[in-house]
């Protein structure tokens, strides 16, 4: 399956993503497979990866990765080329009536209040840790469902600023890194449409996954449409 996706995207699986800004828009419920594909691809090339898991817990990604032939646990704890940010837990920890001990140090807490600098610092720190590893490969940042932040109350402006700064952060280093963002899109939702429109114009590869227009089918789950901006 993974080879087929590479073929479909017309990329070389041994040297991809290279200084790319990839956005995946999911209009169905099944676009998540692309995130697993990219994660698998990057880890097989021994890229340093920062993964922000906002929609699922680590164990989910780990189980799927094992089925696809990579071991996230090994990559995270021993090889140290994967930094997994448990976004779901951290976000969930913000939702409480009385602040707990960890609230102040939680970067998502300030993010939801409109201050994204702590979050960016955290990712920036992770990336600079990778450079200490003296890995020759370019770092990759993957966010599984960026728009969960939007649903949690972050403003569109913050999200756009976040995407912009993240990309700058990745490309400013000596190794030009890549940014991969998955976002769930809803039809007729102004906030997501606005953010998506902006992301669409600054990305290098846009992939959209949607259901079949003809309705539910057991054998064919949906369609994938991809646009490459080669000129960037």
């Amino acid at each position: 399956m993974l080879a087929q996706i590479s073929q479909f995207l017309a990329v070389d699986p041994s040297n991809f993503p290279k200084n790319e800004h990839i956005i995946v828009g999911d209009r169905s419920q099944e676009g998540g497979f692309l995130i697993h594909y990219f994660l698998n691809l990057c880890l097989k090339q021994k890229r340093p990866v920062v993964f922000v898991g906002l929609s699922q817990s680590f164990s989910h990604y780990n189980t799927v990765a094992q089925k696809l032939g990579t071991n996230l646990l090994l990559a995270r704890d021993e090889n140290k080329n994967l930094i997994f940010i448990e976004g779901l837990n951290l976000l969930s920890d913000c939702v409480r009536l009385y602040p707990s001990d960890s609230t102040e140090s939680n970067s998502f807490f300030s993010l939801l209040k409109g201050d994204i600098t702590f979050f960016l610092e955290e990712i920036g720190k992770s990336i600079s840790n990778f450079t200490k590893l003296e890995s020759p490969n370019a770092p990759v940042v993957i966010v599984d469902d960026l728009f969960i932040l939007l649903r949690a109350g972050a403003t569109t402006r913050d999200i756009i600023y976040l995407v912009d700064t993240l990309y700058d952060l990745l490309t400013s280093g000596p190794n030009k890194g890549s940014l991969i963002l998955l976002s769930h899109l809803e039809n007729s939702d102004d906030e997501t449409d606005e953010a998506w429109a902006y992301m669409r114009q600054m990305c290098s590869i846009k992939i959209e996954v949607s259901d079949l227009k003809s309705g539910y089918c057991k054998d064919v789950h949906g369609q994938v449409c991809t646009v490459n901006h080669f000129d960037q």
Binding site: Q29, G32, S57, L88, S92, V95, F109, S188
Partner: protein, 411 residues
């Protein structure tokens, strides 16, 4: 069983796989997740065997929320029958009322031998120990007769299911209520409703969040912590916690139909509540069933947002008060049930459902969910059968089983 049949053979399995140690659970056949039953076996079937532990089931209520309430009662009743813990929160009606109205379990010898551990409650069916004994006698007699190969002697005759010792899913009778003795055996915690607590004068950590939701989440956290339901906590008697929340998002919770209090923009409180809940449940032996009056949200996108943040989402669409009630096509059923979303757990894609045409039916004693079948067309197809066809096409059901109106060809 193997031990009383003589010396252990070298062909025995090394380790016994301990499946179903936790009461009322079984592993999924798709992704090896631990499942619990919703209390409605036909509903378990359509959502892939049951609800995975650590997930959230969102039920979008029908207009009068009567069927959603029945489903919630089934869910609680199943928790009572399997001895699980229950955390209940309800704003519209007092939780005690819900508990009183639980459906009664249908008599079943296996159920009673499990659920009545003390002799204070006599099992209603007399003489079931004898019948059980005779079954085992028969089994041993059969074992003696078996001379096919000695190494199979220690094997049980029929492996009915991997969880033969623990019952998964029960049947209930809606016309009767559950005996109080059964309810008293399990731990039921009720959270004070927003009406009891009144307006909370504390502002939550995230300023734009509804304080009632935060309060509820804090209580769930506390309960998971004190009851040792967390995955990180060690306990000798592992139990599953069922979290049942009825009609969250109704105006009683201070919800303004998905709009912020100042009327500008959408309110992220309820989506945030679901993010919070999902994060809590992922590291707990707990399952949540939440009903939401989705028709009260004036913006459809708010409901969509919530759906994305839950694991299993079903939508009840009752015929009560609608045109479809009188439609002969649907006379067998009381409403449609839409599988909006199935959980994507430890797998690339969600479990695939067979069909999306599902309907529910409330009989006198039980609620069942089944595939929507059209009634047989008994009238002459060339004559006055057009009525049924037009009704079907107006519903957009292009199943192709009705003859088209213009066609005069017969084949």
């Amino acid at each position: 069983m193997a031990s009383n049949l003589g010396a252990p053979s070298s062909f025995q399995k090394r380790a016994k796989i301990k499946i179903g140690q936790i009461s009322g659970t079984r592993p999924s056949l798709y992704n090896n997740q631990l499942l619990i039953s919703t209390g409605i076996p036909s509903f378990d079937n359509v959502i892939g065997g049951g609800l995975a532990v650590g997930t959230v089931l969102l039920v979008e209520e029908d207009t009068y929320s009567s069927y959603a309430k029945i489903m919630l009662k089934y869910f609680i009743a199943e928790g009572v029958m399997t001895g699980q813990s229950i955390f209940l929160s309800s704003a519209k009606e007092p939780p005690q009322q819900l508990i009183k109205e639980l459906p009664a379990p249908i008599d079943d010898t296996r159920v009673h031998s499990k659920v009545y551990p003390s002799k204070s409650v006599p099992p209603p069916s007399t003489g079931h120990p004898e019948s059980q004994k005779s079954i085992t006698d028969n089994a041993t007699n059969d074992n003696d007769k078996m001379k096919i190969a000695w190494r199979y002697q220690s094997q049980p005759k029929v492996k009915s299911s991997p969880v033969s010792n623990i019952r998964f899913g029960h049947y209930y009778d809606l016309t009767q209520t559950m005996p109080v003795e059964l309810i008293d055996q399990v731990e039921i915690v009720t959270a004070p409703s927003p009406l009891d607590t009144g307006p909370l004068n504390v502002s939550p950590v995230i300023p734009y969040m509804n304080a009632h939701y935060c309060h509820l989440l804090d209580q769930i956290r506390k309960h998971i912590d004190t009851g040792c339901f967390g995955t990180a906590q060690n306990t000798d008697k592992r139990k599953i916690l069922r979290i049942c929340i009825s009609s969250i998002g109704s105006p009683l919770w201070g919800e303004m139909g998905g709009v912020r209090a100042n009327g500008e923009g959408s309110d992220p409180s309820l989506p945030l509540f679901f993010i919070g809940l999902r994060g809590i449940l992922r590291s707990a032996f707990a399952v949540a069933m939440i009903t939401v009056p989705a028709h009260l949200f004036h913006d459809r996108s708010t409901v969509k947002k919530m759906e994305r943040l839950c694991d299993t989402v079903v939508k009840l669409d009752s015929f009560a008060g609608s045109e479809k009630e009188k439609n002969p096509v649907f006379k067998e059923y009381h409403g449609l049930i839409h599988l909006v979303q199935l959980p994507r757990l430890n797998s690339l894609i969600p479990a695939q459902h067979e069909t999306s045409d599902l309907a529910f039916k409330l009989r006198r004693k039980k609620l069942t969910i089944e595939k929507l079948h059209l009634p047989p067309e008994l009238r002459d197809p060339t004559g006055g059968s057009q009525e049924g066809n037009t009704l079907l096409s107006s519903h957009g059901n292009n199943s192709g089983c009705g003859t088209s109106q213009s066609s005069k060809l017969s084949f």
